[in-house]
């Protein structure tokens, strides 16, 4: 008797759990899984969005292999990721450690200040930075020339545009990642640091041997999430340069957008999106294995 009751209760719990998950599952299916499968289906067609789809098998994928502009955009995305991910990781960890040593009162003020850019809509922050970056009347150049430096072209130069955009996205995201780091630093038991102090360890040594290793879980999370985000970067670039000057900031997602909505090559754009998905997927898996293996 008792056992049956227990079983029933357990079953009821499972049902309740699924009932709570249901709205989310429906959302995911309708807005994420279905579009993903549909994108793959579309990628096998020649489709301009206006007339019916024509099935062409893997022709889009074959065409992509020799599309220099696509591979150049993939290269640019990698370059962006190589600059952005390490910079974001190091800076947010650096600020998290520094802020963690501040008094509680200053800590919360500083934290709020760092997080503020994150609360601004991406398009608006892009526009604000366009004003700051303006080659002639922008604040940054006024500042540089008051210090006696040459003025820079920023977004108007093929060499500086990508780095300028990286700086903006760093400015937006450092605060958020810093807070995640701060939260996990707080989890580390104080005893470790006390013990290290007694052994005469320097602050740097304590960071290297205690803080950094114990943040591995958080680091893995942040590195993977940031890498995915940097492979799908779009809004700020679209607003600030729309891929220019001379294609120097045309990253993969921007090129996919152009193929889809400017040239109306929906099928081809879907094929590119599928490949980009695979690239991200493989890189994420590789990263996950790399970081968890070390332990």
């Amino acid at each position: 008797m008792k056992r049956m009751k227990k079983n029933r209760r357990k079953r009821n719990e499972v049902v309740t759990a699924y009932a709570f998950l249901l709205p989310n599952l429906v959302g995911l299916t309708v807005f994420v899984f279905f579009p993903m499968i549909y994108a793959f289906y579309v990628s096998l067609h020649d489709w301009n969005a206006l007339s019916p789809k024509v099935f062409i098998g893997f022709d889009n994928y074959i065409e992509m292999a020799s599309d220099k502009r696509w591979w150049a955009s993939v290269g640019r995305t990698f370059l962006f990721t190589l600059i952005y991910v390490p910079a974001l990781y190091c800076l947010s960890l650096f600020f998290a450690v520094i802020l963690n040593n501040l008094k509680q009162k200053y800590q919360s003020i500083a934290r709020t200040m760092f997080l503020l850019p994150f609360a601004i809509t991406s398009v608006i922050s892009a526009v604000i930075w366009m004003f700051l970056y303006d080659p002639r009347n922008g604040v940054l150049n006024q500042f540089l020339s008051s210090l006696g430096f040459d003025k820079l072209e920023f977004l108007g130069s093929t060499n500086q545009a990508l780095v300028s955009i990286v700086a903006v996205i760093l400015w937006i995201n450092i605060g958020y990642n810093m807070i995640i780091f701060m939260a996990s630093i707080k989890e580390i038991p104080k005893d470790y640091y006390e013990a290290a102090k007694i052994d005469g360890a320097s602050a740097w040594r304590a960071f290297r041997s205690i803080t950094f290793p114990l943040l591995r879980g958080t680091s893995t999370f942040i590195l993977i999430v940031t890498m995915i985000a940097s492979f799908t970067v779009f809004d700020q670039i679209m607003v600030m340069t729309s891929g220019g000057p001379a294609s120097s900031t045309e990253v993969s997602v921007l090129y996919i957008y152009k193929q889809a909505f400017e040239f109306l090559n929906m099928g081809y754009a879907s094929a590119l999106a599928v490949i980009l998905f695979l690239i991200i997927f493989i890189l994420s898996l590789a990263q996950l294995r790399l970081y968890t293996k070390k332990g």
Binding site: A19, L22, V26, R136, G156
Partner: protein
């Protein structure tokens, strides 16, 4: 068991919500009236004009009811809203198209042939070149209602202070732009970002020098010629020599660059005149035809939006009738738009004649007397050709390429695009 019932209920409600969100409640017809959707991108005064137009039409007849919506943003409209709507088979019955994207809609067969709906004599009233620009295989696929021409606007005070003459040749234009450039003022404001507008402003330079993008029947690229290379070089030199800013704070379509005093010259269209008169009335501004190369012939580009009817609509006839009523019937409605709402030329002779006195007011006189005759309609290339031309421009502006190199690369690209379309 009770829990299963609850679950069923929740599931049922959720399904209902999802279904309600996806279904559209307009069936097109309610009773005898036909409901048509009309979507465009206008804002402010233009939006008011089209709202008024739709209201009036809904009042003067009761067979058709038009529902007007606007996105208020040109890029969102052409790049997102329309393609997505058409992809879902929910394209509006009536919409607008520009030379930059006319061809892709024409290729896809969503533009209805409007020729059967012209009233007697109206077709002849249109400027032949304006209709030619929207004709494919003898079908008139869109109806132009504005012709916007380009000219060189300049700040008279700055020219006087620098003791400069208004430039008439390319060399003079470049020299003046360099001379007038200071830390605060750009010599000339030109579009910087790739897109149809960049090409649109450059086409006059191309045509003045006798160059072209494609041959007459649009089957071959004619981009790899010295004429094209020279036109690219002069354009690139404004940017390479620092006379045109590499980035603008105010949109290049907006005369605010000149009006606000951050540029001494700007190449913009007819639409800038009301802005200059209303918002920058204090300044002293002049207007001249775009300078020409040595031995070249004057040319300017004529752009402008066109009405289009969705060929897949169930009510092509009703939609076409509205479009004809709006701009292809009496003279008052189209004239009001091109004279009061904004400044442009009407593509119909009778409308231009009707507004004759208006076309001589202030700077408009320069357009009417010195620029109008050299107008060539903006070509209707496919989006990928537009992009290849834009890439050539970007390469001479920022990529450090010579016009010759950039023209050669673009020529190959354009030819391969044309070949793949066959």
């Amino acid at each position: 068991m009770k829990l299963w019932k609850k679950l069923m209920t929740i599931g049922f409600v959720l399904t209902l919500i999802v279904m309600a969100g996806c279904s559209s409640d307009s069936d097109g017809e309610s009773g005898d009236t036909v409901t048509l959707t009309f979507s465009d991108f206008h804002s402010e005064a233009d939006q008011e004009f089209f709202e008024g137009l739709v209201d009036e039409y809904n009042k003067v007849q009761d067979e058709v009811k038009i529902e007007y919506t606007t996105t208020g943003n040109l890029t969102d409209y052409s790049n997102t809203k329309l393609p997505v709507a058409f992809a879902n088979n929910e394209g509006p019955d009536i919409f607008m198209t520009s030379p930059g994207d006319f061809q892709k809609y024409a290729d896809a067969g969503v533009l209805a042939d409007l020729s059967p709906y012209f009233k007697d004599g109206v077709k002849e009233d249109f400027l032949p070149s304006a209709l030619e620009a929207v004709t494919v295989d003898d079908k008139i696929l869109a109806l132009p209602f504005e012709l916007e021409l380009l000219g060189l606007y300049y700040n008279k005070t700055m020219f006087e202070e620098a003791n400069l003459e208004v430039p008439k040749t390319w060399d003079e234009l470049l020299a003046a732009a360099k001379e007038l450039t200071t830390d605060e003022v750009a010599g000339i404001a030109l579009p910087t970002d790739k897109g149809a507008y960049l090409n649109f402003i450059w086409y006059p330079f191309l045509w003045q020098n006798g160059g072209s993008v494609l041959n007459e029947d649009g089957t071959k690229s004619t981009f790899n010629t010295p004429e094209v290379a020279e036109a690219l070089d002069i354009w690139g030199s404004f940017f390479q020599e620092g006379a045109a800013p590499s980035k603008l704070q105010i949109d290049p379509t907006d005369i605010g660059n000149l009006g606000g005093g951050t540029a001494a010259m700007q190449i913009v269209g007819t639409w800038a005149i009301p802005m200059l008169e209303n918002e920058y009335a204090d300044g002293d501004f002049g207007l001249a035809p775009i300078p020409i190369p040595e031995g070249g012939k004057p040319a300017t580009a004529a752009g402008g939006w066109k009405f289009a009817v969705n060929a897949n609509s169930e009510h092509v006839k009703e939609a076409a009738e509205f479009v004809m009523w709006a701009v292809g019937d009496d003279k008052e409605r189209p004239l009001k738009y091109v004279t009061e709402t904004k400044f442009a030329y009407a593509p119909r002779q009778s409308v231009v004649e009707e507004g004759e006195e208006f076309y001589d007011k202030g700077l408009r006189k320069v357009f009417t007397e010195e620029i109008y005759d050299s107008a060539i309609p903006e070509p209707k290339f496919g989006a990928e050709v537009v992009d290849a031309v834009g890439e050539a421009l970007q390469n001479v502006m920022f990529g450090g390429m010579s016009g010759k190199e950039a023209a050669k690369i673009a020529d190959e690209k354009i030819q391969s695009i044309l070949d793949s379309k066959k």
